[in-house]
Each structure stands twice: as C-alpha cells, then as structure tokens.
C-alpha cells in the first residue's frame, strides 16, 4: 500500500456527471414549464380558450360597427349606455366574473388531472426532479399561457370600445388597473383550482360549484362569508362603476362592503401563492393510483 506524497494535492472524489445531477426545484420547474407551454397552447382546449377570449372582441366589433353606421344607441333597462360603460361592464361581468374563473378552472384543474387521466404522470414522477416542480412548472405554463391570451384580448376590446366618448390619456390608468386585475384573478383562481385539481377526485364539478354557486351566493349574503371568495377582493379594486347607475345601485353602494386596496391586493397574491404551495405539497405526498 502506498500513500500519496504530502505535497501532492488530494484528488476530489469523482462527482456525478452534470447532466445526471438532480436539478433544483426552480430549474426543474422551468424545464416542465418549457415542456408544458406548447402542449397547453396547442391542446384541445385551445379552441375553447379562443372562443372565450374572442367573444368580447366580436361583441366590441359588433357594437362599434352599429355605432359606425349610425345605429340606435345601446340600452340596458331602457337606459342609454356609452362605450366606456360597456367596456367597464365587459371587464367586470365578462372577463373577471366569467372568462378568468372559467379559464382558471379549465386549465388549473387539468394541471394534474389530465396527467392522471392520460396515465402520463408516471413518466413525470420517474424523472429525477422534485415532484413539486412538476406542478410549479405546469402552473407557470398555465399562467403565462392565459395571461398572454386574455390581456391582448382586453387590449383590443379597450381600443375598440373603451375609447368611444373618452380620451386615451383619461382612461389609460383604469386600463392598467383592469390588466392588473386580470393577472391577479388568473393567479388567485389558477392557484386555487390547481390545488383543487391535485387534491380532489372530481375537481371540475367542485370548481364549477365554487365559482357559479358559492361565490355568487356569498357576495349577496350579509356577513363575513364573502371574505372566503376571490371575487370579493377583485370587486373591491375594480375601477369601473359597473354595478348599475340608477337609484337602486346608489342604495346598494351605501351598504356594500369593500376590502381596502392593500388588503385586496395582498389577499389575491396570497391566495394564489398559498394554494400553489398547497398543491405542490399534495402532489409531493400523494400516491396516484392509475386505473388500468
């Protein structure tokens, strides 16, 4: 047995090849994101998403065309409505109360459920990456995909509709708020439904009941139940006076509750981040039994 001379530096033990080293959570999530984004953009849900975000654009084009040919003024309950009012109405009722929750529900619940249904989750879990990274990467793909589809749609609707009878400089700050609200809505609803998808067996049904049942009821029931909804925080910072303009709405505005700007912003971000974290924990611990 020979020993190495004292003046010769010790040779470090050979390490694993770089390619075989287990990547960090973030690096793994970025790889999953890269893989999932194209699948999400060009999946069977693409047509569904295109229809959803195309609907307001088509409506805006129609209204603008009617205005251009000198058609009669648009009315709701006998009241004449102007371009910015219609835009505000569309932002709240069409985007924030329908398109954002439905897109988040459709894509959020499918993040894990689709992999289970297609029996491809095994292939993801056999990769040398943290399980949580699978969900984080897929959630990032959902977020980028929906944001990059919904925001341009809103921008087009704004330039078609929101400027009729208003100035660009005057309404631009409220457009920025609308864009920010949609991003926050997609984050909060997406995180929530990602967790629902990872945790429950029939996530779509639960999600539908939450959005179109619980949230609708909680907003009109007096008390603190509204604090458990996402739409309450969105409603608290929506910049448009879209809840109606008559005497009844005036009375409603006297009794309605709103969260402060800081609370609403904080809660929307917290809901999104917390539920994504919970979903990552669920996927890391849960055993998914694939049906044969």
């Amino acid at each position: 047995m020979t020993s190495a001379p004292a003046n010769v530096p010790a040779v470090a033990p050979p390490s694993l090849p770089v390619g075989r080293r287990s990547p960090s959570l973030w690096v793994a999530a970025v790889r999953i994101f890269d893989l999932s984004l194209a699948r999400m953009l060009w999946s069977r849900g693409t047509i569904f998403m295109a229809l959803l975000v195309g609907l307001p654009v088509v409506l805006a084009v129609l209204v603008r065309a009617v205005q251009a040919i000198g058609g009669p003024a648009m009315r709701v309950d006998g009241q004449m409505v102007t371009g910015p009012t219609i835009f505000g109405f569309m932002v709240w009722w069409l985007y924030l109360r329908f398109i954002v929750p439905v897109l988040a529900l459709y894509y959020g619940t499918a993040l894990v459920a689709d992999e289970v249904e297609d029996k491809t989750i095994t292939y993801l879990f056999t990769r040398p990456i943290p399980r949580g990274a699978v969900l984080l990467g897929k959630f990032l793909a959902y977020f980028v995909c929906t944001v990059m589809v919904v925001l341009p749609s809103l921008m087009i609707v704004y330039f078609l509709m929101g400027l009729s009878g208003a100035t660009l400089a005057g309404t631009f700050p409220s457009l920025l708020k609308d864009l920010g609200l949609i991003v926050l809505g997609l984050l909060a609803y997406g995180g929530l439904f990602a967790w629902v998808g990872a945790q429950f067996k029939r996530p779509l049904v639960i999600g539908l009941m939450f959005v179109f049942g619980f949230e609708q009821a909680a907003l009109i029931i007096p008390g603190s139940l509204r604090y458990l909804t996402v739409s309450f925080y969105l409603q608290s910072i929506v910049p448009h006076a879209v809840m109606g303009e008559g005497v009844m709405s005036l009375l409603q505005s006297l009794v309605e509750q709103k969260a402060s700007l800081g609370t609403a912003l904080g809660m929307l971000v917290a809901i999104g981040v917390a539920f994504v974290y919970l979903a990552m924990r669920v996927i890391a611990r849960r055993e998914y039994v694939l049906e044969q």
């Binding site: 890269d34 984004l37 194209a38 953009l41 060009w42 205005q67 003024a73 006998g78 009241q79 004449m80 409505v81 102007t82 910015p84 009012t85 835009f87 505000g88 980028v144 990059m148 589809v149 925001l151 341009p152 921008m155 087009i156 704004y158 330039f159 078609l160 929101g162 400027l163 009729s164 009878g165 208003a166 100035t167 660009l168 400089a169 005057g170 309404t171 631009f172 700050p173 409220s174 457009l175 920025l176 910049p239 448009h240 006076a241 303009e245 008559g246 005497v247 005036l250």
Partner: protein, 364 residues
C-alpha cells in the same frame, strides 16, 4: 418550446406592448388622437381660425338639425310668427336659415386675442370675447348692399372684405345734447357708451365671421400669420375627435372659463374646480340624445363628482314621479365614467317627442 408557440407569444407580447406603449405616450405626452380620429384632421376646417387660447369651442351642424325628423315635428307646432320672422330675414338677406347654412362654429376666449387700442380695452379685458363663423351659401353682394344701406361701410383687410358701422356716424352718435326740461335751465349732455363695434367678415367663399371688430381683425391676422391654433391644443383636439361623428351639436372647453361667472348649486359648485375639461354633445335625429362629459383632475375628484351627480339624479327621479310623461327622459339619465372621466347622458326618445307635439296640438 416550439417555433409556433414562440411566434404566438411574440404576437401576444407585441399587441400588449403596442397598446401599453400607445397608452403611455398618450398619458405622459398629453394625449394622442383616438381611434375615431386617427389619420385625419379633427373637426371642421375652420378651426384654423380659432386661437390656441380659446376656452370654449362650439359647433352645430345646422343642416343636419334642420333636416332632422325632430325639427320637422317641432316645425309643425311652431307659432306662425317664427316662420314669418324667417321669411322676413330671407327677404332682407337672401339667406334661408333652413337651407343655406351648413354649420356654425363659435368660440370664446377668456381675454381678447389682441389688446384693444381704445378706451374700452380695460372693460373688454375683464370679459370673454368670441366669434361666430357661418358656413353655407351666401349672396355676398346683397349682404354688402344691405349693410351699406343701413349705414355700414365695406373695407378690405388683408384681402378680406369686411362690413362694419361707419366710424364717422358712430362718433357723431356718441354724444347727444338734451333739451332742458320745463323749469330747468341746465342743458344735459348724454354720452352713449356703445362698446366695441361689431363686424362681419367674408373670410372665404361661403364663410362669414360675425363678431367684434378687434376679434375679427385678430382672427384674420392670426390666420394670415399661420400662428398656433386650437388644433395645437391636444386635449381639445382629443375631445373634439371623440365627439364628432356621433353628434351634430357639440361644445368643448375648459371648465374654469365656464364657471367663472356662473351661479351654480352649492354642492355642484364645490366639485367643479376639480374639473379640468368638459364637453357637451347632442345628436338631433328622430329624438335627441345628449352626453355631458367632464375630465376631472384625478380619480378621487371624478369619483366624488359621480357621487354628487348620482345624488342629484336620485332626487330628480323622485320628483319626476309626479310627471309620468317625463319618466322616459329621467330613466335615460345615466352617470358613467372611468378613471378621471365623468359622463352624464340622456335621451329624449322619438315617442316622447310625438307625445309632446300632440300635447301642444291639443293645447292649441
């Protein structure tokens, strides 16, 4: 990520960046022409005569209004005196108000565009001055003859023919000696302060300017020198661009110019200083629809003004219950707006016009 996805994301990003960039330039650069006004000059060509400092600019498409169904209905119930007055005016001037005037453009500046050299300058400086432009078909020779027969003189300023009162006659009429009253030996001399002389200018074929002499002279000189006009005021241009096309009568301006001497209800007057710009527009067709819009200083001021207006509307609607025939108008009143914009719209539907005409007929 494949090439198609990359292209899609780049396309989306481009739409977003273009929209946000345009908005940012408009917000920080004082506004950009809107979609409705992009690519063409906003407003009537005669805006070139309006100085940049104009506080209020108003426009009425007289032809549109006169040909409207609303006007035809109203005409049936107008008293005969109104029609006779128009006929007499046409006999004198050759102008048929119903057919010969296409549109009217008027503006007001808070101070005179040029300093008046006479003694009235001081008084004039404290009140707004304005000018009215009529576009249509006019018999210039006949109008000049009519003016001279009534003591006017025809002159030429920078190649533009103008008609104004004869200065000699005007000076002679300025002082008047009154005979002493019975039992009084004192002779009274009365001085008449007639103010600034009126003037009519034939600016272009089919374009007449009516106003005070210094204002018209200033407008002619301003147009000849190619100085800055209201078209250089981007905020006014944006407001006009938003209105034209959807209305045939409109006015835009700075709120301070409008409220300086106006007596308004206290709650409304408190909130008006927060308003920078206003616009009022109306479309006269089968019925009448109107939109009053104000641009507030900030979001908070706009919200407060919306609240005040909604309070007024609620009260008005309660009172309107006593007169059900006006219920459709009250129902059409609507306060709206986003950001710094506050808007109040209304509509007089054709059915209500018919009802009012019938009411008038029955009363006759």
């Amino acid at each position: 990520m494949n090439r198609t996805s990359r292209l899609f994301l780049m396309g989306s990003g481009f739409v977003l960046a273009a929209g946000l960039g345009t908005g940012l330039v408009a917000y920080y650069g004082g506004g950009l022409p809107t979609l409705a006004s992009a690519g063409r000059a906003v407003g009537p060509d005669e805006l070139k005569y309006v100085p940049e400092a104009a506080a209020v600019v108003a426009y009425a498409n007289v032809r549109d209004v006169m040909n409207s169904e609303f006007r035809q209905k109203i005409r049936k119930v107008l008293p005969d005196d109104d029609t006779k007055g128009q006929e007499e005016f046409q006999r004198e001037t050759g102008i048929n108000i119903e057919q010969d005037i296409d549109y009217v453009l008027a503006w007001m500046t808070p101070a005179p565009a040029v300093a008046a050299p006479d003694a009235d300058a001081k008084e004039k400086g404290s009140r707004p001055v304005g000018l009215v432009l009529l576009h249509g078909r006019f018999d210039t020779a006949r109008l000049e003859a009519l003016a001279t027969s009534h003591g006017g003189v025809v002159e030429t300023i920078d190649g533009i023919r103008v008609v104004r009162p004869d200065p000699a006659k005007r000076e002679a009429n300025r002082t008047e000696v009154e005979a002493p009253a019975p039992g009084d030996t004192q002779v009274r001399i009365r001085r008449h302060h007639e103010g600034v002389a009126p003037m009519v200018a034939f600016l272009e074929p089919g374009l007449i300017a009516l106003g005070e002499e210094p204002t018209i002279r200033a407008a002619i000189a301003h147009n000849a020198s190619g100085g800055r006009t209201i078209r250089d005021n981007q905020e006014i241009v944006n407001l006009i661009g938003d209105l034209e096309g959807s209305s045939n009568v409109w006015a835009v301006g700075r709120m301070d110019a409008l409220t300086k001497n106006a007596s308004l209800p206290e709650p409304l007057a408190q909130h008006l200083p927060a308003v920078k710009w206003f616009s009022a527009s109306s479309h006269v067709g089968a019925g009448i629809s109107g939109l009053l819009r104000a641009e507030a200083r900030d979001d908070e001021a706009a919200k407060n003004l919306r609240d005040v207006l909604q309070g007024f509307m609620a009260m008005a609607k309660l009172h309107a219950g006593q007169k059900p025939e006006f219920a459709p108008i009250m129902q059409s009143l609507q306060v709206s707006g986003t950001g710094t914009t506050v808007a109040l719209s209304f509509e007089v539907p054709p059915a209500l016009v018919d009802a009012l005409v019938e009411l008038k007929n029955n009363a006759n």
